[in-house]
Symmetry: D2
Subunit: 234 residues, 4 copies
């Protein structure tokens, strides 16, 4: 069984009619609806309850899924630090879309995580670059999204451990849309699709990718201690 | 001083009127014309003279630039093996466009180096992914090529040591267009633009990239021996 | 079920009394004895029967385990090419000890795969560098081997995708003893311990690593075709 | 000309007689003495003056060299943040020895950066793993240090972009002693030798490595802005 915690700031859906129409119960509930099954249990947290993301809660979380955008700065530094350390101890983490600028993702990457963007409702094709990767199983040559926010390079991330997807947009832009990292004992997947005003998380391929990523990121090993132990000569 | 040897199979330019119009003296001479200056001396080899690529010649070459397409299989295995070993000893190598399927590139990658392709004269934008890389110096956000052959993912290469450029095409395709590897003591750069029927190598930005790559790939260290030396306890 | 094929050249064990004493039935049978269980079926091939490693046989192999030393050059080029392509299509491969110089390993790496060596019966400690890696599960801080051949850096491999173990020897030498690569759709693990004259493959930790590696390398995805398909504008 | 700023906390040298004997003017002055020449100008900062490491100062620094140990936590978070961002903008950074636990190094890695350690005055051999790397130029098979603090794996760093040196110790321990990263536009080198109570920085090979690293890390490109620019359709 995989214990997933979804964090969604849940601001857009309550302040913008257009977004509420797409995700009336919030992006977190949309994610939960397809992630939860016999093998995966899902809990959700929003900005209002973000302090529930305690060290204890994260110890009981196998994979944390993160969606945030407008309110990155309202996430307490302490929570971001807990998330970072939980990943280093083995928890998996999946950062979606504008989560590239979230505090915990930036802490885990060590890079600016910046990008260029425009919002013109262009189509996106998310191309499978590594078809043998566990996260790409069941996905064809590309995922077609009729409308997505356009993210563009340079994307200020470290050279990926594994590049799984690269997106291409109507305007000819490209973006490393699906990338994997290991940080300490934890695995991280960043996945770009998911602008709040489009029904991206209702796309079956996108759901498949996120579900695959949850399975891939679930820990097989966790450590308690991140300190530097003094040892004896062997 | 950097000693460059350009290999161009020089078949298209002699058999297709359309290509001859673009490169009347051959792609190798077009490359030579912008590479050669006070600091760079250039020699050229074609399929007709490919056996000039001896071990000796490669020892006297700092960077080998390779363009091939129709006649990959006519390059003797022995030459490909010499090139592979010269790179392992420290020689730099730049593989252009359809050079992804050349014998030496495949030997150096260990992967199929396959890709998808179509030839519809679409535009390409080659996006700078790593603006701080030596090979990207002087290049803006992207290089615009009015017409290029469309190469698509999955590109069967190892996860790059450094990704410098990613191309985006009119049809929404993407391609890792500029990637770096180290193999033994040598540095390798693959650069995708350069279809024979378009004047890509006359584009100032493309020229800049290739010139930068020559400087980046020039060796600072070479070894003679690739064997496994027996050593004493230190 | 995982279908493993073990290739062992099986020369030392028949020509050197000292080695026969350690592995009377050959290294392949020693490996088979601990790999085979309800979930893993094992077939073996030796230099005498190396031509059994046909394309067909490799298609029916999930993970190939390779031990060779004296007779690398007697393995036909065609067999080495088949192994390389089978890995690119998705087959897993584990190269043991002196397999670093085998034809298929070198073809897959693209590097010289050279190293320094001495044979003084020193102890080795194989240190776990990445305790969260699937291949390191069940292994403590290090594996202690009372006697091993000393392999030393520089080891002429590409920068590893993942470094799992680094060995340290009595003389202060170090060696990247457990490293992972992806080549095409296949996964590769190189593991240094296993000199023929010491009972390394009877060590429970070494067995555990190899068993873990078999599970890690077993394919979840395979492709038929390594060519470059012509595609249509999407 | 390369503008180097050396930060040394300068605590051990003022509080421990044994350390003062080795570095009477402080580690920073020892580093400065061999780094400074016609092409390199050096400024120094200590914990007492750490607030001099302003954004402005770091903009005027090409490469920052960092030595800290006891007083990591006394470095203000704001300074650590400035250093992180300066690297992301292009400044080079070299972290020495116990600098693995400094705030800016941990911020740039995103990992715990933990390790095991013991202090028994063992010898260390620092092995050259990548002899073609610019930082290894002029160094032989290994650097011999009669006494060093023993650092051991697992070292909690991301998989290195480039591994240049691996250390081996008297007790058979191993440690990734020289590793390179790129973060944003900046280059980072971590180098393990340099325990305060041994005259490591007086070793000519160690000096050569640090000097090489300064040259390697000096920026060729810097950016002002780390934000996410809104762009137009091209």
């Amino acid at each position: 069984m995989i214990r997933v915690t979804i964090y969604n700031e849940f601001v857009h859906e309550r302040t913008e009619e257009k977004v509420r129409e797409v995700y009336p119960d919030g992006i977190h509930m949309a994610l939960k609806s397809f992630l939860e099954d016999g093998d995966v249990v899902v809990d959700t947290v929003t900005l209002d309850t973000v302090n529930e993301l305690t060290e204890e809660k994260l110890k009981d979380t196998d994979v944390l899924v993160w969606w945030g955008h407008m309110a990155h700065n309202k996430v307490p530094d302490e929570v971001a630090e807990h998330v970072k350390e939980a990943v280093q101890r083995g928890m998996g983490a999946i950062f979606l879309h504008s989560g590239h600028e979230s505090k915990p993702f930036k802490k885990l990457m060590g890079t600016p995580c910046n990008l260029t963007w425009r919002e013109d409702g262009d189509y996106e094709r998310v191309w499978t670059v590594n078809p043998a990767h566990p996260i790409a199983q069941g996905i064809g040559r590309f995922i077609y999204l009729e409308h997505e926010e356009t993210y563009g390079e340079p994307f200020g991330i470290p050279e990926p451990d594994e590049t799984v997807f690269i997106g291409g947009y109507e305007g000819g832009e490209v973006f490393r849309s699906g990338v994997c990292y290991r940080r300490g004992c934890g695995r991280i997947f960043y996945f770009q699709p998911g602008h709040e005003s489009f029904p991206t998380y209702k796309n079956a391929d996108v759901q498949r990718v996120i579900k695959n990523a949850v399975c891939w990121a679930a820990p097989i090993y966790r450590v308690e201690n991140l300190n530097c132990p003094h040892v004896q000569k062997p």
